[in-house]
C-alpha cells in the first residue's frame, strides 16, 4: 500500500505545519498568511544544502530549521508594531514577495521549473528512498513536534501566550515580556515550518514554487480551522482530513482542467462554513 503510506507521510509533514500555523494564528493570535513561505524557505534551503554540500541529512535539516527560526522571527516582528488587520497586509506582502523570489531567482531556486533531484536522506549509511522507510522519519518528526507543542501548552509559557492573545496590555502590566514571548513563539513556529520543509523536499525529491504560494498558506489555515484551532488534537486531525479530501474528489468525475480550482474552491467553502457554523472546528476551542 504505497499510496496509503505516501498519504500518511505527507499528512505527518503537514501536521508539523499545522502546529506552526496553529501556534501563531490560534494561540498567540498573530494572523499569519505567510507560513507557506517559511515552509518553502526550509524546503529550498535543505534541497540546496544536500545538493551542493556534503552535509549529512540531519545537519542540513537542522540548519534549514535554524534559518527558518530567524526568518520567522523577522517576518513576525512587524506584528509587535502594527496590530491586527495591519499585520495581515504585511503577511500577505511577505507571502507574495516569497513567491516572487521562488519564481524569479532562477540561480538559487531553479525558477518556475523548480529544483529536481534532491537526494534522499542518508542516515548512518542507510538511505530512506521508499515511502515505507521514510514514514519512520516523518513519524519521529511529528512526534517530536507534538511533544514540544504539548509541553509548551502545559507550561506557564503556554498560559502566557494565551493571555497575550486575550489582553496584551494586561500581560504587559503584570510585568511579563510580551516581546520575549512573541519572539519565542515565532521561533518555535519557524522551527516547525523549517523542518517540515526539509522533510518535504527530501521526500518528494523535488521542490517548485507552486507548493509554497498563497494558496498553500490558505490551505494551511484551512487545515487548522477544520481540525480545530488552539488544540494539539485539532492540528493533528486537520491535515489527515484535508489531505484525504482530494482522494475523495478523485472519485467524483471532475474534468482535470478544473480539478485544482475545484479543490481550492472547496477549501474556501470549508473556511466559510466552519466560521459560520462551527468556529471551533472539529476538535478545537472557540476562536
Amino acid at each position: 500500500m504505497d499510496f496509503l503510506t505516501t498519504y500518511i507521510v505527507l499528512a505527518e509533514i503537514y501536521v508539523l505545519l499545522g502546529l506552526s500555523t496553529n501556534l501563531l494564528v490560534g494561540i498567540v493570535g498573530i494572523f499569519s498568511v505567510s507560513q507557506a513561505a517559511v515552509f518553502g524557505v526550509g524546503a529550498y534551503l535543505t534541497a540546496f544544502l544536500l545538493m551542493h554540500t556534503a552535509l549529512p541529512f540531519p545537519v542540513a535539516v537542522l540548519l534549514a530549521a535554524a534559518f527558518c527560526v530567524g526568518l520567522n522571527i523577522l517576518v513576525t516582528l512587524p506584528s509587535l508594531r502594527v496590530s491586527g488587520d495591519y499585520f495581515v497586509v504585511t503577511s500577505f506582502g511577505i507571502q507574495l514577495l516569497a513567491t516572487a523570489v521562488f519564481t524569479n531567482w532562477t540561480g538559487g531556486t531553479g525558477g518556475a521549473n523548480g529544483l529536481p533531484g534532491v537526494p534522499a536522506p542518508l542516515i548512518l549509511g542507510h538511505e530512506f528512498t521508499e515511502p515505507t522507510e521514510f514514514i519512520a522519519l516523518t513519524t519521529i518528526g511529528m512526534a517530536l513536534g507534538c511533544l514540544c507543542f504539548w509541553l509548551m501548552m502545559r507550561a506557564p509559557f503556554g498560559a502566557l501566550l494565551r493571555a497575550i492573545r486575550e489582553d496584551e496590555l494586561a500581560v504587559a502590566a503584570l510585568g511579563k515580556s510580551v516581546l520575549g514571548a512573541k519572539v519565542s513563539a515565532a521561533a518555535l513556529a519557524g522551527a516547525f515550518a523549517g523542518s517540515a520543509g526539509g522533510l518535504y523536499a527530501t521526500f518528494l525529491s523535488f521542490v517548485d514554487p507552486s507548493s509554497f504560494d498563497l494558496d498553500a498558506s490558505i490551505f494551511l489555515l484551512t487545515m487548522v480551522v477544520v481540525g480545530g484551532a488552539r488544540t494539539l488534537a485539532g492540528s493533528v486531525l486537520g491535515p489527515f482530513v484535508l489531505l484525504a479530501l482530494p482522494q475523495i474528489l478523485a472519485l467524483i468525475d471532475i474534468p482535470t482542467s478544473i480539478a485544482a480550482a475545484a479543490r481550492q474552491l472547496i477549501y474556501g467553502l470549508l473556511l466559510i462554513v466552519f466560521m459560520l457554523f462551527r468556529p471551533q472546528g472539529l476538535l478545537g476551542e472557540k476562536l
Binding site: V82, D85, L96, D215, A261, Y267, L271, I272, L276
Partner: protein
C-alpha cells in the same frame, strides 16, 4: 525619454490603483475589517463585463452590467456573511478567515468557469494611440485617467455632500454613537459595501483592457491598494488616492534600476517604512 514614459505609465496605473484604493478605503474605514474578498469582487467585475460584451452588448452597457452585479454582490456579501458573523459577536480573526474563504471560493469559481488562461476583451479601439504633450497614450490609458479622476471626485462628493456619505463618516468615526443616534450602522455598512464594490468594477474592467483578464489578478492589486490606504491614513479618501499615485509612479520608475518582477518588493518596502515611522498614515492628524 524613457523616464518620462515610465512616469506617465505610473500616473495612469496610479489612477487605476487609486480607484481600487478609494473603493477599499470607503469599505475599510466604515466596517473596520479587512475585506480580502474585495480582490475577488474586482475580478468578478471584469469577467461579468467580458461575458456581457461577448453576448453582444455595447461596451458601455457591458461595463454597467458589471457595475450593477458587483454592487449587488457586495451588498449580498455584507448581508449574508459579514453581518451574520458580526451579530454572533465573531472576532475580527473569524471574519477575516471567512473573507479569505470567500475570496478563494469566488476566484476559483471564476477559474473553474472561465479557465485560468488569460482572456482578452479584443476591442481594437483600446490600443489606438494619441500624442498629448509629447507622450504617447492609448485610448484605454486616457479612459483610465478620466475614470480615475471622476471616481475620486465622485467619492469625495459622496462622502462630504450626501446624507448617506455623512452617515457613513459618522459610523466610521464612532460606531457606538452612530448606533444610539439611530444612524443604523448595519444599513450603512450594506450601502457602503455596495458602493465600494460597484466602484471597484471600473478598474476591474479597465486594467484587463490592457493586460487581459486573470482569475487571480486582483490579489496583488488589492494588496498594493491597501498599502496606499494605510499609508495615506485610514478614512482619508484623498490620502488613499494620492498614495496610490505615488506608489504606482515609484513602481514604474523602479524599472529603470531593477526588473519588473521585483516591483512587489518596492511596494512592500514603502509599507514597511510607513509602518516604522508613521503607522497612522500621512493624511491623519
Amino acid at each position: 525619454m524613457l523616464w518620462l514614459n515610465l512616469l506617465i505609465n505610473g500616473l495612469v496605473w496610479g489612477c487605476a490603483l487609486g480607484m481600487v484604493a478609494v473603493s477599499f478605503s470607503l469599505i475599510f474605514a466604515t466596517t473596520r475589517f479587512f475585506h480580502v474578498a474585495h480582490a475577488a469582487v474586482y475580478g468578478l467585475g471584469g469577467y461579468v463585463s467580458w461575458s456581457a460584451l461577448k453576448h453582444g452588448l455595447p461596451e458601455w452597457a457591458a461595463l454597467l452590467v458589471g457595475i450593477v452585479v458587483c454592487g449587488l454582490a457586495g451588498a449580498a456579501i455584507q448581508k449574508l456573511l459579514y453581518e451574520r458573523l458580526d451579530r454572533r459577536g465573531a472576532t475580527h480573526l473569524v471574519i477575516l478567515i471567512a473573507s479569505l474563504g470567500l475570496s478563494a471560493v469566488m476566484q476559483n469559481g471564476i477559474a473553474a468557469i472561465y479557465t485560468s488562461n488569460v482572456l482578452q476583451y479584443g476591442l481594437p479601439w483600446g490600443n489606438r494611440t494619441t500624442i498629448i504633450g509629447g507622450a504617447l497614450l492609448t485610448n484605454t490609458q486616457m479612459l483610465t485617467v478620466v475614470f480615475g479622476i471622476l471616481s475620486y471626485l465622485g467619492a469625495m462628493w459622496f462622502a462630504h455632500r450626501t446624507v448617506l456619505g455623512k452617515r457613513m463618516r459618522a459610523v466610521a468615526s464612532n460606531p457606538f454613537l452612530a448606533e444610539i443616534t439611530r444612524l443604523q450602522p448595519r444599513q450603512v455598512h450594506i450601502a457602503v459595501m455596495a458602493i465600494g464594490s460597484a466602484l471597484v468594477c471600473i478598474p476591474g474592467v479597465l486594467v484587463p483592457l490592457d493586460l487581459g483578464l486573470q482569475p487571480f489578478g486582483g490579489v496583488p492589486i488589492l494588496l498594493t491598494a491597501t498599502i496606499a490606504v494605510i499609508a495615506g491614513g485610514v478614512g482619508s479618501i484623498s490620502g488613499a488616492f494620492v498614495l496610490a499615485l505615488v506608489i504606482a509612479v515609484l513602481q514604474n520608475l523602479s524599472l529603470l534600476v531593477m526588473p519588473g518582477e521585483w516591483s512587489i518588493g518596492i511596494t512592500f518596502g514603502i509599507f514597511v517604512i510607513f509602518m516604522l515611522f508613521r503607522p497612522r498614515g500621512l493624511f491623519t492628524g
